[in-house]
Amino acid sequence: MSTPVDVPTPVTAEPVLPAAGGADPRPLAAPTTSVNPIQRDHATTIFEKGAPGRRSFVAPDAGVPEADLDEILPAGLRRTAPARLPQVTEGEIVRHYVRLSRRNFDLDTGFYPLGSCTMKHNPRLHERVTALPGHARLHPFQEPERAQGALELMWGLERQLAEVSGLPHVCLQPSAGSHGELAGVLLARAYHEARGETRTKVLTPDTAHGTNPATVTMAGLEVVKVATNPDGGVDLDDLRAKADDDTALLMLTNPNTLGIFDPNIQEIASIVHGVGGVLYYDGANLNAIMGITRPGDMGFDIVHFNLHKSFTQPHGGGGPGSGPIAVSDRVAPFLPLPVIRRDDAPAPGTRTGPSGAAFSLVEDATALPEGAPGSRSIGKLRGFQGNYGCFVRSYTYITSLGAAGLRDASETAVLNANYLLAKLEEHGVRELLPLAFGTRCMHEFVLSGGPLKRELGVKTLDVAKRLLDHGFHPPTVYFPLLVDEALLIEPVETEARETLDAFALVLAEILREAKDDPTIAQNAPYSTPVRRLDEAGAAKRPVLRQPLD
C-alpha cells in the first residue's frame, strides 16, 4: 500500500476545555470525546480485503443450448483479463460498508447547518413510497399508456412547482441545480436567438454560487460581475452601468447567499427587462420564501428548483439531486422535451391515472402548436424524463404539507435563522464573528471570521474543525467569497429551538476557549475518525485509486 502502516492512536489527548474563566458553572455541551474504535479503523479498502475464490454472486445456469462462444462473439472483441474487482463474501461486504458508514457524520445523527444546502429532515415516508415497485421498477420506455400513474405524478409536481414559483410552465428534466442552470441559460439564449439577437453578457452578482459563472461559460456566454452594495444587495448603479442591449440575462439568488432578500428586486427586474434581458432565479434559497413570495411575482422569467434542498431529498453524500425549471410564457416554447400533456376527457377505454385524466408524453416539437411549451424546444438535456425517484419524494412532500405547511416551513426556517442570530448576539459571539451584512436575515446568514482571525489568530476553518469535536457539522465556510473568513449558517425549520440553543452555546464556548488557548481550535479536531488531512499533498501527488498487484 502507498501509505505507511497506521497504528491507531489512543485518543487520550483530548484537551480539557477551560472552564470559561471559572465563572460559568453550566456544564458544557460535551464534546464527543469518546471515540468509537470502529471510527478509528485503519482505512482498508474493499480491494484489500477478501481472498481468491470468495464471492457473493452465484450466476444462474444459462439454461440455453450450448453454443460456441467464438460464434457468439469473436475472440478479438472479447476481454482477455478480467477487471480486478474484489473477491469477497456478502458478509464481508456488509461489514466493510457498515463500518465505513460509521466514519460519516450524517443529518439523522446531528445538526447540519450547511449554508445554501438546506439540510432539512428527510421524511422516511418518501423512501417507502419511492421503493414501491410501481415506481421503482417502472421502465422509462414503458408505453406511456401503461405509465399513467408516473405521468400523473409528474404532471402534479409540475403544477405544484408552478404554483410555488409563480411561473406557469415547468420542465422536470434537469438532474441537479447546476444542470437546471444550464437549461435556464440555454433557454435564455434560445429566446434571444429566436428574436434574431445574439446577446453575450450574463450579469452575475459577486455573491453568486460558483455554479452560476461556470454554467455561463458552458453555455457559450460571458460573465459580467455586478457589485454588491453595503447592505448586501445588488449595487444598482453598477447594474445600470453594465446592463445594456448585449445583456442576455441576470442570474440572481434571492434571498442571496448572504441570506438577504434584495429589497430592490423590482427595480432590478425593471432595469434588466428595460434592456431586453431575461431574469434568472437560482432557486438554491427557495426554502426562505415558499408561500411567502414568488419569483414569478418578483419579475423572474426562469427559475430552477433544487428538489434535494427545498423539497427534501436525502442528499446521498453528494447526490442524487434534481433541478426542475419553471418559466414564463415568453420562454416556454423553448422548454426541453418531452412535455407532458393532460387530457381531462379521454375517450372511453383509454388508460388513465387515478384522477381519471389521461396523460401522454410529447417527444416531437413539430407535434405541438406554435407557441406552446416545447414547440421550439432547445432539445434534451439528458436521457429519459429526469430523476423520477426524486420527483416521487418531492411530490410526496408537497402533498403532505399543502399550502399552509410549505409556508410554515419557510416561516420557521426564517425564524430559526433569526433566533440563532439573536442567541449568538446574546452570548457575545458576534463580537469576534460579526454578521457580515445587515441586521436581519432570511433563512440563513453569514458571519465574518475576520476579527477572530485578526485578534486571536483563529481562522474560520479552525472554528469549523472545533465544531466537529462538539458533534455539530460546521456551516459552509469561505463562501460567499466577498466575506472575509465567511461562515454561512442555515439552521432550517426542522431543527428544534434547543438544538439552536446548544449550537450557540458551543460557538460561544469555542471562542472563549480560543481566547485562553488558540491552539486548541487551531489543531482541532481531536475526536474524529481522522484528524486534519494533508489536502495539498493529495493534490500534488494524486493517488486516485487503490493500487492492485
Binding site: L132, H139, P213, Y419, L533
Partner: protein, 475 residues
C-alpha cells in the same frame, strides 16, 4: 406548527421575543417589499397525514405497469437487472443516505472512501487510469466528455456515430450548441458504424470522435478499428470517446485497450433501480492526460496529521466553487448514493462474477435472437455480434400494436423502434436480456410473438419451436 417543523406556539413566542419582533410576518415584512409579500395562501390542496399520502402514492404506483407486473424485455439504455438485497440495506443507512458532499473530510471518511473505491472499480472496469466520483447519467456524460474535448483541443466539431442512444444524440446536440460545437452524425451500415463514413467525417477540426458500445441497436462495434481510424484522420489531439454499458465490460474489450481516451456511460445497470429513468449515475474515466480537465468530484488518498491514512476531495481547482467561470464543468451535486450502489454491486458480482454474468447474458441473448428470428415474419435488423440486446424487423407488422397485444398477455417484448427512430425503423423491435429473463420466458415470448403476428395477419399461428428447429436450433 405542521408536519416536520418543531416550533410550538410557546417556542415561537419566546423566539420572537429573542429576535425582538412581534410576529413572523413582521420579521418578513421588515425584509420583503409589501407589494411582494403574500397574504393569500398558495393554490395547493391542504396537507394530508402520512397514511393518506401513502395511499395516494400507492394508487399512483398501481396505475403503472412495472417490471414487477410483466416479464419485460425492454432495455434501450436501462435494464431490469436484479438488485441485490444488500444494496437496499446499505443505501438506506442514515450515514450514507443523509449527509451531503464531503466538505469536511474528518467526518466524511466513509463517503470519501466509497468514492475512492468506486473510482478504483471504474478504473478497473474501463482499463483507464482515472475516474471521477460520478456524473449525472449516461447521455449527459457523453456531453460532458465532449466538453472536456473542447477544453483539451479547442476544436469545433464533434463526430458521433448514429449508433449512440437517441437521447445521447439529442443531449449532445443541445449542449454542444452551448459549447459552440457542431455535431456531425455518422450513419450505420449493417448495424454498426460505417467505417468509411466515419473516416471521411473526421479531420483535423474534429474535437472528439464518439462511439457507443454496444450500440443502440445492440451491435458490438469494432471500437479499436474506429479509434485507430479517428486518430489517423484527426491527429493526436482528437479525443476518442466511448459510451459503454458497464455490464458488458465483463466480456467486451475494455475501452482503455481499444484506443478510447474517455470512457463514459450509464451506470444504472450496476445495482440501480429503473426508477422510470432516474436517478442513476454516469461514470467518467479517462487517460492521465485529461486528469486536470475532468468534471466533477474526485477523491484522493492522503494522510492526517497523525500519519493516519485518509481521503479528501482533491484537484478542486478544476471545480466551479473555486474556479467559477474558468471551471472545467458546472457540476456540483452528482450521484454519490447511486455510485455507492454501483461499487457495492461490482463487489457483490466480484472478479469472477462479472465475466460470468456477462457471458450468461451473451448466451441467453444469442439464444433469444436465434429463436425469435426464426419466427415466420421476423427478421434480424442486423447480423452483427450482440451480447445483451438485439434488433429485429417485422416487415408489414404494426409493431406498437403487436407490443400492446403481447403486453395484454403479461409480457413486454421490447422497444418499438418507431418510438425513437420513426420511419427509419418503423418495423423495428429492440429486445433486451438480463439475468432475470430465463429460457422459459424467451420461449414464451416467442409463442406470444407468433400469436401476435398471426392475429395481425388474421391467420393461424405457427409454432416457434418448429420454426426454430428449421434453423438448426434446439428449442
Amino acid at each position: 406548527m405542521t408536519r416536520y417543523t418543531t416550533t410550538t406556539e410557546a417556542d415561537r413566542e419566546e423566539m420572537l421575543r429573542a429576535v425582538g419582533v412581534t410576529s413572523t410576518r413582521d420579521l418578513l415584512a421588515e425584509q420583503i417589499p409589501a407589494a411582494l409579500l403574500r397574504d393569500e395562501p398558495l393554490d395547493l390542496p391542504d396537507g394530508r397525514g402520512e397514511q393518506e399520502v401513502h395511499a395516494h402514492l400507492r394508487d399512483l404506483a398501481g396505475a403503472n405497469t412495472s417490471a414487477e407486473d410483466e416479464v419485460t424485455f425492454l432495455g434501450a439504455g436501462m435494464y431490469d437487472h436484479y438488485v441485490p438485497a444488500i444494496i437496499d440495506m446499505l443505501l438506506g443507512r442514515s450515514e450514507f443516505l443523509t449527509p451531503y458532499t464531503p466538505y469536511q473530510p474528518e467526518v466524511s471518511q466513509g463517503g470519501l472512501q466509497v468514492m475512492f473505491e468506486y473510482q478504483t472499480a471504474i478504473s478497473e472496469l474501463t482499463a483507464l487510469p482515472v475516474s471521477n466520483a460520478s456524473v449525472y447519467e449516461g447521455p449527459s456524460a457523453v456531453a460532458a466528455a465532449a466538453y472536456l474535448a473542447k477544453l483539451h483541443n479547442g476544436r469545433g466539431k464533434l463526430v458521433v456515430s448514429a449508433g449512440a442512444h437517441p437521447h445521447t444524440l439529442q443531449t449532445l446536440e443541445t449542449l454542444a450548441h452551448g459549447y459552440g460545437q457542431e455535431v456531425v452524425v455518422v450513419p450505420l451500415k449493417g448495424g454498426a458504424t460505417d467505417p468509411d463514413a466515419w473516416a471521411a467525417a473526421i479531420d483535423e477540426t474534429t474535437s472528439a470522435a464518439i462511439v457507443q458500445q454496444p450500440n443502440f441497436l445492440g451491435a458490438v462495434e469494432d471500437v479499436a478499428a474506429l479509434t485507430a481510424a479517428a486518430k489517423e484522420a484527426g491527429g493526436d489531439k482528437l479525443v476518442t470517446v466511448g459510451a459503454y454499458d458497464p455490464i458488458t465490460l465483463g466480456i467486451l474489450v475494455p475501452p482503455g485497450e481499444a484506443g478510447i481516451d474517455v470512457a463514459v456511460g450509464e451506470g444504472q445497470t450496476l445495482g440501480n433501480r429503473l426508477d422510470f429513468g432516474g436517478p442513476s449515475f454516469g461514470f467518467f474515466a479517462a487517460r492521465d492526460a485529461f486528469l486536470r480537465r475532468m468534471p466533477g468530484r474526485i477523491a484522493g488518498e492522503t494522510t492526517d496529521v497523525d500519519g493516519r491514512r485518509g481521503f479528501v476531495l482533491t484537484l478542486q481547482t478544476r471545480e466551479q466553487h473555486i474556479r467559477r467561470e474558468k471551471a472545467t464543468s458546472n457540476i456540483c451535486t452528482a450521484q454519490a448514493l447511486n455510485a455507492l450502489a454501483g461499487v457495492v454491486y461490482l463487489g457483490w458480482l466480484g472478479r469472477e462474477g462479472l465475466p460470468e454474468l456477462a457471458e450468461l447474458l451473451a448466451r441467453r441473448t444469442h439464444y433469444a435472437r436465434t429463436t425469435l428470428a426464426a419466427i415466420d415474419g421476423v427478421e434480424l435488423l442486423h447480423d452483427r455480434p450482440v451480447v445483451r440486446e438485439f434488433a429485429l424487423r417485422l416487415p408489414g407488422i404494426d409493431v406498437p400494436a403487436l407490443v400492446a397485444h403481447v403486453q395484454d398477455r403479461g409480457y413486454h417484448p421490447g422497444l418499438p423502434l418507431v418510438r425513437t427512430h420513426g420511419d427509419e425503423h418503423a418495423d423495428g423491435l429492440l429486445v433486451a436480456l438480463t439475468e432475470q429473463r430465463t429460457k422459459e420466458q424467451i420461449d414464451r415470448l416467442a409463442e406470444l410473438l407468433v400469436g401476435a403476428i398471426a392475429a395481425q395477419r388474421g391467420g393461424g399461428s405457427a409454432s416457434p419451436q418448429a420454426a426454430a428447429s428449421r434453423n438448426g436450433v434446439a428449442a
